[in-house]
Symmetry: D2
Subunit: 387 residues, 4 copies
């Protein structure tokens, strides 16, 4: 009866709303047909809203890492000096990709669970005026921190460097003002706060970045952004577009517009605050201490000697049908992560917290049943000015 039943609370893929699911069921159109071009062009146009930009937004048939590679492969030439701000696994991924493309990579590593420090970035840029690009992870999914994109944008804009932002697990869940914050390339993916299945990525490029890209030499084809720019004028993609995901994206962007980006951000923040309050009330420790540094799309929680996080995850999954993420790499076994982005209502996080209470009880962790819910509900009540 409940084989397919689940509460998917990982930081992507995320649940798909029934509206988006049905939109994707539309009969497949030829990717070069006029009927599809119409849908495609409208969707690209609607995507500008979520990047808060007047620049074109490009649709790639790939998942997020493909879009990260696009950001590197169109900018970086062998021996180019680039600066990667590393706050976790996805910062490291930028390092790996940049190295794969022959970059001379400088890294600034920040303690896991903390954010990149703008002032340090400023110093490094001053000392290295030849840095071609700064790579920043907006939400570092592996640690659940949100990096200060605006502040770093403010610094990078006065240099020749491009600011390249991985907003895969942040965009739509947290504020990103492509234009106002002087971001040069921002990328995201379909299966995060946008609420589609995986397989589609979005890339947005500033005028400053285009100047670099136009001069760029180096191996690239599928992810060659100039090819996408050329074809978007004809309301199409250079290669076959992911037709059914575009249908879904079109609908998803309508739903996001209807809610309003700002309201969506507030919803994500409320849910984060509910999770954090519940976590504390259940005698658990948050991995990201600082409120400001805590992502609104994912929360990381520490294990301890009474709490085997992998055992907890197994119980949550098998006995309560709640799927949460574990730690990655160095954090494996040390934390677990609750994703709360995209098509998620505050009620859904209460369900997760209930399951968490039961599972903690089940492994003998010292908690009071109901304590997490009480704390989370109080946050919601305050938010609604109740009581």
């Amino acid at each position: 009866m409940f084989k397919e039943y689940q509460h998917l609370r990982i930081p992507g893929p995320t649940p798909v709303s029934p509206e988006v699911q049905r939109a994707m069921d539309r009969t497949i159109l030829g990717h070069r047909s006029g009927a599809f071009s119409e849908i495609f062009a409208q969707t690209c146009e609607k995507a500008k809203y979520v990047f808060q930009t007047k620049e074109d937004v490009f649709i790639l048939a790939s998942t997020g890492t493909g879009a990260l590679e696009a950001a590197v492969a169109n900018v970086v030439e062998p021996n180019d000096k680039v600066l990667v701000l590393v706050t976790g696994v996805f910062g490291e991924r930028f390092v790996k990709i940049a190295k794969a493309y022959g970059a001379n990579v400088m890294t600034l590593k920040f303690d896991l669970g903390t954010t990149a420090k703008p002032e340090t970035v400023k110093e490094v840029l001053q000392q290295n005026p030849d840095i071609k690009a700064v790579f920043l992870t907006h939400c570092e999914t592996s640690t659940a921190v949100v990096n200060p994109v605006e502040k770093i944008g403010n610094i990078v804009k006065d240099t020749d460097a491009l600011l390249i932002v991985d907003s895969v697990s942040a965009l739509v869940g947290m504020d990103l003002k492509m234009d106002d914050w002087d971001v040069d390339i921002a990328v995201t993916a379909s299966h995060k706060a946008i609420g589609l299945p995986p397989g589609l990525a979005l890339v947005c490029v500033s005028q400053k970045a285009w100047k670099v890209i136009e001069k760029h030499k180096g191996p690239k084809f599928y992810f060659d952004l100039l090819a996408y720019r050329k074809k978007i004028k004809d309301r199409t993609t250079p290669y076959t577009g992911p037709v059914s995901l575009v249908y879904g994206l079109s609908k998803s962007l309508d739903l996001i517009k209807e809610e309003g980006l700002e309201n969506g951000f507030k919803r994500h923040q409320l849910i984060r605050d509910m999770v954090r309050a519940a976590v504390k009330a259940l005698n658990l420790e948050l991995f990201v201490q600082e409120e400001e540094a805590a992502s609104c799309t994912v929360t990381a929680i520490k294990g301890n000697n009474q709490l085997d996080v992998e055992q907890l995850r197994k119980i949550l999954r098998e006995d309560y049908k709640v799927e949460v993420a574990g730690g990655q790499q160095d954090l494996k076994g040390k934390i677990f992560r609750i994703g709360h982005l995209g098509y998620i209502h505050p009620l859904d996080i209460l369900t997760t917290i209930s399951a968490l209470e039961m599972a903690l009880k089940q492994i003998g962790y010292p908690i009071s049943l109901g304590a997490g819910i009480k704390a989370a509900e109080e946050v919601w009540c305050n938010d609604k000015n109740i009581g």
Copy 2:
């Protein structure tokens, strides 16, 4: 974003599982085609499991009331004496239908919120050996009581009367042993514990009942059970069958079999116990006091002078996306009812309870946030032998 999002917690229609939803999307077949006959015949066969019977189960294209009418229209002739056990609105519905068909209706009314009393039934039957049929509501949806079908079956079987049971909101959620309990006609509908959309009803008939039906004279056509019996041998229906709902029923019966009827009953009972514990912990009053009388598929909760149930329902619906039912007829404004049948996991009732806590807080009802959840989780923990 959340226009279509909801937690449907009324006593039917109920949520449809994704498996069943997809099953209904299958391409429409001709209702007389061999391919459909195959599916139809298998589905009828599988339906015997849920009635715990070896008799045929008939599929009608109607909702539950149509099936109630079928039970009357095939048995009752003008001036026949029938006994209706009335425990609420759906008992009254049997009265109305029987009167529409010219019956001489005796009613035994029991206080709302209590069950039919077998001993009283016994007396009346002894005093009225000419009673042709006894009509009983298995779960009286309007008050959330479950009537003692087995005990009444034990009494009626020794008379000439037929026992006709409306198990619309009970079957699959609570035990009904058609054969062992000597039920003569039992009916149910698709949109209750079976978990389909409305539009399909099931009717099961004992050999004792067939003898009466075969002699029956009176106006009936669409609901003429002899026509259905004749056609089921040819693996079809007398009139067009509800093809897509049959696809869904076939899948639903598979899922029910897979879980096991007994396990399903336990799940419904656990959920009932969780709701009742939460209700008490939230200083609310249950409409059905006696534990044994409390339905496992729906729970009724009283309003009071601090609790306007219609206001509560509005807040639950608008602010928390939880749809619960109000009272019907005499109970309108006096109770609200939480449906918990069909495709519902214990976690889902925790979501409902969370919403209830918040909504109660919002209208100023004196509760402690988290108290309902704590009580409900304790019930679940006990059930799992945790803690």
Copy 3:
């Protein structure tokens, strides 16, 4: 690969468009919820367009025969004299239902394959001024004739009798002007030209009919039209409505409006003309000779001593995935019938004709491959003023 692949060319159920299919996948709402009432009320309103009426249209959770019974059960009292115009199986069905309700049934039988004759009806009505109702089948699905509703309406309107029309397999496919043609009760069903799965029926009632219904006494409950009239004011149904089919109906009515009723009639007529031309070109004999009498929604074709229609149907089904209907009752084995109503494009009938050519070849019937297509295409070309 092609297990589910088929061309469903029977006179109902009919293929469901992808738009309607997706509409029915919408999350189930409570049947008494405000959100559903909104959809329900709009749908009832939109349904007036297809009946070409200003009267209310009622939605029943049943298939077509249930609606036929509703038309009888609300009008006919025991011994009432009624006139049934019988042109085939569905005329006979009215006879059976009326008899089941105790009517004194006069029948006018017309040769199979011909229509009811208005002048005869006129005579009978003049001779029998006590006739309470005239029952007429709009499209007699079993023979593929279309009866002259307008002319008969013109006659009946000047009498006290009601004109009750079974437009199950006609409405939306052929013209029916409820108000202008003085029809008193018209019924149809979801799985015909409306293009939904089976399980929903529509009934429309004139003011003249309401006067009779209001005085009617007799057993009825599920199909009691006064109960429906009372509840439609509250934007709901007396018993649970078929929620998901209503979603589909709402979308289907939008698509019908978008095409325009008149355009839809022309499309059905074109397809009929294409079929008839092909049939002649393939040396087959039409069962309905007269062009005017030929239904636009279904075509019946005679077997002969070189053509075993049941063998042909088997080959069409098994080798060509085309499902056509056989003859019913007296016509079993003598004709086969091609349904062409609802969601059917002229191209689809060419597919059917191609399959028919191949299947005829396969059984050794003397035809020229391509001859049927040629004839059908010429009809279409003429219709488009090509060539």
Copy 4:
């Protein structure tokens, strides 16, 4: 009514079967969850059947061009000598990608509409023993030829060069024996004969190719096949997999297995033969003269001074809802192409031919209506030994 109605007859994307469509609607699972890993591993295993291989098959979240790039990016280093056999646009695409990766590209161009000549390939390889890889397009979609993969495989296997085959629009529609024919890398995509929406690609690699790939140096990340090989052992992908397309692929591979690859090849060939016969009967000229060179998945037809192919395509699309492809690059305006691959039944091609006849008539092209159908039906009859 018919806005979404269409007959998609381009060489990809192709129609999606209802079974596959529903499979993709399954609730999204976490891409690292055990439940998804199970589905993923089974799907990879099932994919071996369609490549006729015992090697691993890798699933990429990209469309076909991404997979072509993967084949280049894992093999080619700057200045490597490679041979590209160019028979049209997709051969040219290999040239472009190889050049983007710095290869020293030799091209063998063959006249458009003809195939690569094995003997020429042999000579060139003998004269250039330092060729690292030979790139071959299995079905050259732009001209509708099928290249002799087996023969070329026979030649390349005795050299140090790898044979890299773009089987994007061929695999599953025409024979490709990865192992027996000594293909080293073969790639295909989801939206061709496999019958899914676009967004997923498959890559299969021989042991000979792995040896080259293991030593390969050069920029690659998202398409790094070693990363995929490493992760497939853990039943997962290096980056997020296209979850819903994998569900669809799993079902599609089941349907292909059920039909049997060989039967599927015959079906594609039959459909090709039907199209070619119809084309000739309609006084049109085939672009690929030689029968053996004609692809079974797409057919190209020449325009002439009485036949403006772009006008024809417009009429087919707008008046007959049939979408066919035009010519690409040099062939734009000179040919049109009918795709007939994947989820297509012989009946469907008759529909296309009917539409073509009507459209030709409409533009005044001298044809006899029905002639194309007659010819195509005769082919099918011969195939079935009818007549």
